[in-house]
């Protein structure tokens, strides 16, 4: 699905290395690129080589993508830091699995910190998009390429194995011919009729590096203002709001439906951008909601962003299942029910 959406977004370069649970994406992209006259698919010798091929192809002006899962994403971090430093657009898909270490191949959300905190060395951030349905995945893949180009920065699509296996009817956006995209005035394509260009990240002069860091920071602030986004479900009268993203948000939605049947006023706050975290919208909601339940398929990572955003304005509770365990909506409904009564939310 991402493969098709990427090609339609004008992506013409993919490099990757096999790792479960996301091989279907690479395989699909291999055939899609083969059908295109100007498409390149490279099965790289390593995750490191793949991300570095993206660096080159991005320097040359193409829309580029790679995909992997936990252990592979860790290996790519060197290159992602360079992409951020050199301000090169790229899209990186992480189909999260259980970890740390080799972990397992079941759906999990343990790579939130890695994705939202920069992941590699140095002072930088990456945009992180977290789709929760097939349709959203298709739309956000398009957005990922647009953000990457607009802000000249690497963009993550953070999903999990569940999302990879989803079978849903999806309407794809119209395909874009990459030649119709606005030219990038910074690429390396040979200094013909113009001064030669340099793309680099080495800034030996400490004051120059400091300036660069602040320049990147201002860009990240602009991104935070412009794209932070969350989706809500049944929050208008909610007394308890579950905060979850991706697959966990889908499970939570099912749980909320059950809780509503029992007459509990529960809603969902679902960050669509994990970085920038939709802090403003959450703070806004805390005027009305005094209890938030963070639900993650991890031991609690987004939990920190929720707490940092709310700064003690509301009670923040947590329920998590790490290791590739997929909670059922019934299980979460029970957690909601218990919490709802413990916090006396059923009383007027």
């Amino acid at each position: 699905m991402i493969g098709e959406a990427a090609v339609r977004a004008g992506c013409r370069f993919y490099a990757g290395y096999p790792i479960t649970p996301q091989n279907e994406l690479a395989e699909y992209t291999a055939s899609a690129m083969a059908r295109l006259e100007d498409g390149t698919f490279i099965q790289a010798e390593s995750e490191i080589a793949a991300i570095n091929m993206l660096i080159g192809a991005s320097m040359a002006g193409a829309r580029v993508m790679t995909s992997s899962s936990g252990p592979g994403i860790s290996l790519k971090q060197e290159g992602i830091s360079f992409l951020a430093a050199m301000e090169l657009p790229a899209v990186i898909v992480n189909t999260m699995r259980g970890g740390p270490g080799l972990g397992n191949i079941a759906p999990a959300q343990g790579d939130y910190f890695q994705a939202t905190r920069g992941g590699g060395h140095g002072d930088y951030r990456t945009i992180v998009l977290a789709p929760a349905s097939g349709q959203e995945l298709a739309g956000l893949t398009r957005k990922a390429f647009e953000y990457a180009d607009e802000y000249k920065t690497p963009v993550f699509i953070l999903g999990d194995g569940m999302m990879g296996q989803m079978m849903e009817p999806v309407e794809f956006p119209e395909p874009i011919d990459p030649r119709s995209l606005p030219p990038k005035p910074w690429i390396l394509d040979g200094a013909k009729g113009r001064p030669s260009r340099i793309i680099k990240s080495l800034l030996l002069d400490t004051s120059v590096e400091e300036d660069h860091n602040w320049k990147l920071t201002r860009k990240y602030e602009r991104i935070t203002r412009e794209i932070a986004r969350a989706d809500t479900y049944m929050t208008t009268d909610a007394r308890l709001v579950v905060t979850a993203y991706g697959t966990a948000a889908r499970i939570a939605k099912g749980a909320i439906k059950r809780a509503r049947e029992l007459g509990l006023k529960v809603g969902l706050f679902r960050p669509v951008t994990l970085w920038p975290f939709p802090k403003r919208a959450l703070v806004e909601m805390s005027r009305q909601v005094k209890d938030f339940l963070v639900f993650e398929m991890s031991t609690g990572q987004m939990l920190e962003d929720v707490k940092l955003s709310l700064e003690g304005r509301s009670n923040v509770h947590f329920y998590g299942r790490p290791g590739g365990i997929i909670s059922t909506p019934d299980e979460i409904a029970k957690v909601i029910n218990t919490l709802y009564h413990r916090q006396h939310l059923n009383e007027d």
């Binding site: 013409r12 370069f13 490099a15 390149t40 490279i42 790289a44 010798e45 390593s46 490191i48 080589a49 793949a50 570095n52 091929m53 993206l54 660096i55 080159g56 192809a57 991005s58 320097m59 040359a60 002006g61 193409a62 580029v64 060197e78 290159g79 360079f82 050199m86 390396l188 394509d189 040979g190 200094a191 013909k192 009729g193 030669s196 260009r197 340099i198 793309i199 680099k200 990240s201 080495l202």
Partner: protein, 251 residues
């Protein structure tokens, strides 16, 4: 009328090299710039400098240059070339960069037959970081991390990367030269020219390994460093055409 017989090549910027006196990098930079001019490809070339002493190569070459993380030159060059197949793409890499941390990227780029050219500068030490053992440090050679000299039982053997790359089926031209004498410098220039031409003809992966003096870390005078190349280095790394599938194929 006076004729100018020696001037700055067109594709070298008006910058002062930061390289130590007697360093081979300065000579190799000049050769590459001359070749770019002679082949008239200055508007089509994209260079990929390494991490190492030549990290600032982009301050000298007046062509498009894109930095690579340490050792990843072949992968970065691959990405550029696949998007812009009619440009001339070269990576410039030292021995630690290409034969230690970047071995995998290099071997697989060669094996895929990526149509790029790699300039492999072999001076047997990590220059930039202060003279640690490189994969190409000779047996017995001193370095800051091999007390008493490289002991092959403890530190392993010098790596014949170019010979390994010649085995890769996608490589078409691999030659080892040196820049320690006028004769060898001319031979190096011919080799790099041929490597670029192989790429211009779309033949596949080409590489020139250049034995290059590092007087600073070898703790020798410039003259003695050149002698040491001749007397010691070439015994382990003989100067020769290692692979040539270009003859006859070149236009």
């Amino acid at each position: 009328m006076a004729k100018k017989v020696f001037q700055r090549p067109k594709y070298l910027k008006k910058a002062v090299f930061h390289y130590c006196p007697g360093c081979g990098h300065s000579i190799i930079h000049r050769l590459i710039a001359e070749i770019i001019e002679e082949l008239d490809i200055g508007e089509k070339v994209i260079g990929v400098p390494p991490a190492g002493c030549a990290v600032l190569a982009y301050d000298y070459f007046d062509v498009d240059m894109g930095e690579s993380p340490h050792g990843r030159g072949a992968a970065v060059a691959t990405g550029i070339k696949r998007i812009l197949p009619d440009r001339i793409v070269f990576s410039y890499q030292g021995d630690g960069d290409i034969a230690a941390i970047g071995t995998a990227e290099t071997i697989h780029a060669a094996n895929r037959g990526e149509n790029i050219t790699t300039i492999f500068v072999n001076n047997g030490v990590y220059g930039m970081t202060g003279g640690q053992m490189a994969p190409t440090t000779l047996a017995g050679q001193n370095s800051t991390t091999t007390p008493g000299g490289r002991d092959v039982k403890r530190d392993g053997f010098p790596l014949d990367l170019s010979e390994m790359l010649a085995i890769a089926r996608g490589s078409v031209y691999i030659e080892r030269t040196a820049v320690n004498s006028p004769k060898n410098i001319m031979r190096t220039k011919r080799a790099i020219t041929k490597a670029f031409k192989a790429q211009m003809d779309g033949l596949g992966f080409s590489l020139v390994e250049i034995l290059s003096p590092c007087p600073t870390n070898w703790k020798l005078s410039s003259v003695d460093a050149c002698k040491w190349v001749e007397e010691s280095m070439v015994k382990t790394f003989p100067l020769k055409v290692i692979k040539d599938e270009v003859e006859g194929a070149i236009s």
